[in-house]
Structure formats: C-alpha cells, structure tokens
C-alpha cells in the first residue's frame, strides 16, 4: 500500500497537480473565511489564484496540448499583482482611517 503510494508519487501526472491545486484552493478559501486580518485574507486570495494557475498549466501540459493555458497563467500572475497592489493601497488607506486592518471592526456601514 505504502509502496504503491510512493510509486504513484514518483510518477507525477495530471492528477498530482490537480490534487495540489485543489488543496491550495481549499486553503485559500479557508483563509478567506476564517482570517480577520485584511492582509491574511489577501494572502488567501493569492492562494486561490495560484491554485487556478496550477490547473491551467497542468491542463495545458497534460490535457489539451495547447499553450493557451500557460498564456492564461501568465496573465493571471500579472492580474494578481495588480490586484494585490490596489488591495494593499486600500488597506493602507483603511489603516490610516481606522487604525486597524481587522475586517470585523469595519462596521460603519450597517443596516
């Protein structure tokens, strides 16, 4: 059993990457849902985006045989950078206004 598992691990294929990306995605979602610090939430989002990237590249390599997936991955990396830049700017602005980056404490806008 263990032998088989090691055997399986040593021959990476599409499934390996999908499992990794699935795990990353779950971690990302978990971080977004449980963390209250805005920076940590943003890190969770990065995880989700990178999980998607792994998928794109893995499918491109093993599945479709086209390079489209890898191109998309490059775009997504750029996108993630742009998003992070803006998000951090906003977080900075929040910190100046509220002196905290805890999303739970931002509740001026309520019903």
């Amino acid at each position: 059993m263990a032998q088989e598992f090691i055997q399986w691990l040593s021959h990476p294929g599409l499934n390996h990457f999908l499992i990794i990306s699935g795990i990353l995605f779950s971690f990302g979602i978990f971080a977004v849902l449980t963390r209250r610090n805005a920076i940590l939430v943003l890190m969770g989002i990065e995880l989700i985006l990178n999980a998607a990237n792994i998928n794109f590249i893995a499918f491109s390599r093993y599945g479709t045989g086209t390079l489209d997936g890898q191109v998309i991955a490059i775009f997504v990396i750029i996108l993630a950078a742009a998003e992070a830049a803006i998000a951090l700017a906003i977080v900075l602005n929040i910190y100046q206004n509220f002196n905290t980056v805890n999303v739970d404490e931002l509740n001026q806008l309520r019903d």
Binding site: F59, I72, F75, L79, E83, N93, I94, N97, Q108, D111
Partner: protein
C-alpha cells in the same frame, strides 16, 4: 496575419478611442494642473466619440483578434448602454458636490471612469475565457478605487475594502472554475467550448462544479444573492455618481458577459426543427434551473431587506439587487424572447435608476443627507424634483404608464411564453413588495410635513435639464415602446448563433 490584425483594429475603434481618451485625461491633468474640470470634459468627449463609433458598428457581426472579442449587435447594444450611462455619470459629476469638492483629483476620477468603461466595453464583446477574465478585472480594479474615491471619508474606504475582498475572492473562484472548464474542453474561446461539449461528453459533475464556480464570478458582478454582500455597503459608501454607475453599467456588462457565455457555450447547435430564437441546452444540462433559483433568491431578498432600510442609497442598493433578480428571470429563458426582455429592461433601467440616483444626489448636495427622513416634506420644498422622483419610483416598481412597466411586461411575457409560470408569479408578487418601500419615500416627500427647515430648495436650470433628460424617456417609452423593442430585437443577435 497583419492584414487580419489591421482589420481587427478597425473594428476596435471604440475601445481604442477610450484608451486614447484615458491617456489624454492623464496628460491633460498633468498640464492643466489641478482644480479644473477640464479632464471631466476630455473624458466626456472621449466617451461621446466611443459611443458614436459603437453606434457606427451596428449591423456588423464578426469576431476580431482571433476570436478574442466579438463585434456583433449584442455587444454593440451593451456598448451603447455603457457609453450612454458613462456619459450621464460624467454629467452628474459636474454637479456632484462629492466630486466637485475633490476637484484636485478630477483627473484620476475621469481616467478611472474611462478605464471602467473600457473594461465594460470589452466585457460586452468578450468571447474568450481569458478576455472575459481580463475585462472583468479591468472593470473591477478601476471600480475598487473609485468606490474609495473620497479617500478622506472613512465610509468610502471601508466600502472599497469590502468591495475588493469580495471581488477578489469571487474572481478567484471564477478563475478556478474557468481552469476546470478549460481542462474539460481544452478550449478557451466560447465557440471552442461549445464545439468540445457538442462533440464529446464530459464529466458532468466536473462541468457542474466549474459552471457553479463561474456563476460565482458573474453573480458577484451582477450582485445576485448570495454573492451580494458587498453591494449595500459599497453603494452606501461610494460617491453617489459611482454608485449609480455601478448599479447600471457594471451590472449591464456583467449580464452581457453572462448571457453570451451561457448562450454561446451551451447552445445545442444540432437541435433541429426548432423555430428561430428558441434555444436548447446541450446534453440536457439544466443550468437554467440554478439561475432560476438564484433569481428567486435575489429578488426576494433584495426586496424584503429594502423594506427595512432608512438610508436611501442603501435602499436603492437593495432595490438594484432586486432588479438584478428580475433580469435574471430573462436569463433563465435565454431564448431570443428572454434575451430581448433583458435588453429592454436594461434600457428602461438605465433611465429610471440613474434618474433616481441623480435626484438622490441633487437632494444630498443641498440637504447633506441621504436619510429617508430628510426627504420629509420635500414635495413642498421642491415639487418638480419630487414629482420626477415619484415617477422614477413608479417606474422602478413597474407600474404603467411608465417604461418600467414595459420592462416587466416583456420579462413576464418571456417567462409565460416559456411556461416558467411559477417564476413569473414570484416575480409579480415581488413587484408588489417593492412598491411598499418605494412608496415609503414618496410618503415622506408628500404625506409628511418638513421637519425643521422648510425653505424651498432650488436647483439650477442645467440640473433640472438633466432630470428632464432622464424623466422624459421614462414616460415616453412607457407609452410608445416600439423603438425600444425594435432596438432590442435587432440586438439579440450574437455572432455565431443562428
């Protein structure tokens, strides 16, 4: 190759214009210095030109840049809609105290509006998964900043943080869904996906998961329940002009993309013997049931929560959620009838919703408050604007003889024709609930006496002219709706769909 690129570029004129205008606003704001409305006018000119160029594209039907973007009547329609609302928003901005008090950053403001409009133009035409993501992101990134535009106000920055977190998560989830869809079909453009789905059968569970994940992204963009949490906060916190823009244009672009994605990717091109405009889904994949449930949730929650709101901007936010729910009813059908109903609804929605927001802005400029309580006795203080507001509200509630009624009429018609009767009944009951909260505002304006200050509120002639510009179509299209229906009829055509 080069020839093809040049050909594509000539079809890309509206977007190019917007880009040029975007650069010009930045340059102009550098040279003309601060404290000037010049950039607003540059942006306005750019938008008018871009809208004109889109208008010129009417009747064209092709894809450009090797299938990245479709230029077809459907996308032209949404470009016109987005262009028109952006023009109106810039006109609003000329009279918005929030924008005018931060005039030193007007360059930033107009450049971002243009960027957002550019993103929406691309969303209207995107027919490739990559283009779809990029267009959504361009729109979203600009709107995150605009939501927090009044940097000094803490409300505004809170709004933008909430906006970016929800936005980024849902685009992330959407991207993950897209990656699965890419893996399943091996294609990135909608037509390729359709081809792949037609030719081979794919794992239906994986397909379902990926579609639901993609729906999260769309749901966020059009603020459908349960992806709506950002909407009330952002709408309340953002400057009113931006709120109005988000509620109309951003939603329209989201719908355009969503409808194109579903219709093109899942149409059963081999289904024979169906009359024109009728549409069946591939492999019996009933995604429209999911959309129907979303639609019911969206309108019901939007309407019920709106009843409890005391801030008018927040009320309108929930009302716009409810309207997204109504329009989703059209997406459920997605035959040409359903599609046309959504297009008609958007035309109507443009005038009535922007009208309502504009009045809120005018009143907030004068009274400094968006509370429903501050509207007490407004009918006596400013009769003309109040009457206009009543008409916008009546239209939003969907009563004749206003255009809002025509929008609802065609939606219900599309539903009944496709025998989604229970959904039509839910929609109809919802519009009764919606009347209740619209009338609460009307009640304060006319049935209550002003509290404290009862001085008449006067508005300048151009301000009233803009009210009229929005009011007249709201009434006119309620009685003579042929132009609207004809335009929608001409615009349901998407490239590659018979």
């Amino acid at each position: 190759m080069v020839e093809q690129l040049l050909q594509s570029l000539s079809r890309f004129l509206p977007e190019t214009t917007l880009t040029v205008a975007l650069c010009s606003t930045v340059v102009v704001s550098l040279f003309l210095g601060r404290k000037s409305q010049a950039t607003l006018f540059v942006a306005l000119a750019g938008l008018v030109l871009a809208t004109w160029f889109s208008f010129d594209q009417m009747g064209v039907s092709e894809t450009i840049f090797s299938g990245m973007v479709a230029v077809d009547p459907f996308s032209v329609f949404f470009k016109l809609l987005v262009g028109l609302s952006a023009i109106l928003i810039l006109l609003f901005s000329l009279y918005s105290s929030e924008v005018q008090s931060t005039l030193h950053r007007a360059g930033e403001y107009s450049a971002l509006i243009l960027a957002m409009a550019l993103g929406m133009f691309l969303m209207a035409g995107a027919s490739n998964l990559l283009m779809m993501v990029l267009a959504i992101e361009l729109t979203s990134l600009s709107s995150y900043i605009l939501a927090g535009y009044t940097r000094e106000a803490s409300d505004s920055s809170e709004a933008s943080l909430k906006y970016i977190i929800y936005g980024a998560v849902s685009t992330g989830v959407m991207l993950y869904g897209i990656s699965i869809l890419y893996g399943l079909t091996g294609a990135t453009d909608f037509y390729g996906i359709n081809r792949a789905l037609t030719e081979e059968s794919v794992n239906s569970v994986a397909l379902l998961v990926s579609i639901i994940m993609i729906l999260v992204g769309f749901g966020y963009k059009i603020s459908a329940v349960p992806f709506h949490f950002w909407t009330p906060d952002v709408y309340e916190g953002a400057p009113i002009t931006i709120t109005a823009f988000l509620s109309v244009a951003s939603k329209a672009a989201g719908f355009a993309l969503m409808m194109r994605f579903f219709k093109v990717s899942f149409i059963d091109a081999n289904a024979v013997g169906l009359p024109t405009g009728v549409w069946t889904s591939l492999q019996g994949f009933e995604w429209n049931k999911i959309v129907a449930i979303l639609s019911v949730l969206t309108m019901t929650l939007g309407n019920l929560v709106a009843v409890w709101q005391n801030n008018l901007k927040r009320l309108l936010a929930y009302s716009s959620i409810a309207h997204a729910g109504y329009m989703l009813m059209g997406v459920v059908v997605l035959s040409d009838k359903g599609l046309a109903a959504v297009l008609i609804y958007f035309m109507v929605y443009l005038f009535m919703n922007l009208g309502a927001f504009y009045v809120v802005m005018l009143v907030a400029n004068k009274t400094g408050s968006e509370d429903i309580d501050s509207y007490k006795g407004l009918g006596h203080r400013s009769p003309l604007v109040s009457v206009a507001m009543v008409i916008f509200f009546i239209s939003l509630a969907g009563l004749p003889p206003t255009a809002g009624f025509i929008g609802k009429l065609f939606l219900f018609a599309a539903l009944l024709d496709a025998t989604w009767i229970w959904l039509a009944v839910v929609g109809a009951l919802n519009s009764v609930v919606s009347l209740y909260y619209y009338v609460r505002v009307v009640r304060n304006m006319f049935l209550r006496d002003p509290e404290g200050n009862a001085e008449p509120i006067l508005f300048s002639t151009p301000q009233l002219a803009i009210v009229m510009l929005l009011l007249l179509p709201t009434l006119f299209f309620g009685l003579f709706y042929s132009p609207m229906v004809e335009l929608a009829n001409a615009s349901v055509m998407m490239f590659g769909i018979r």
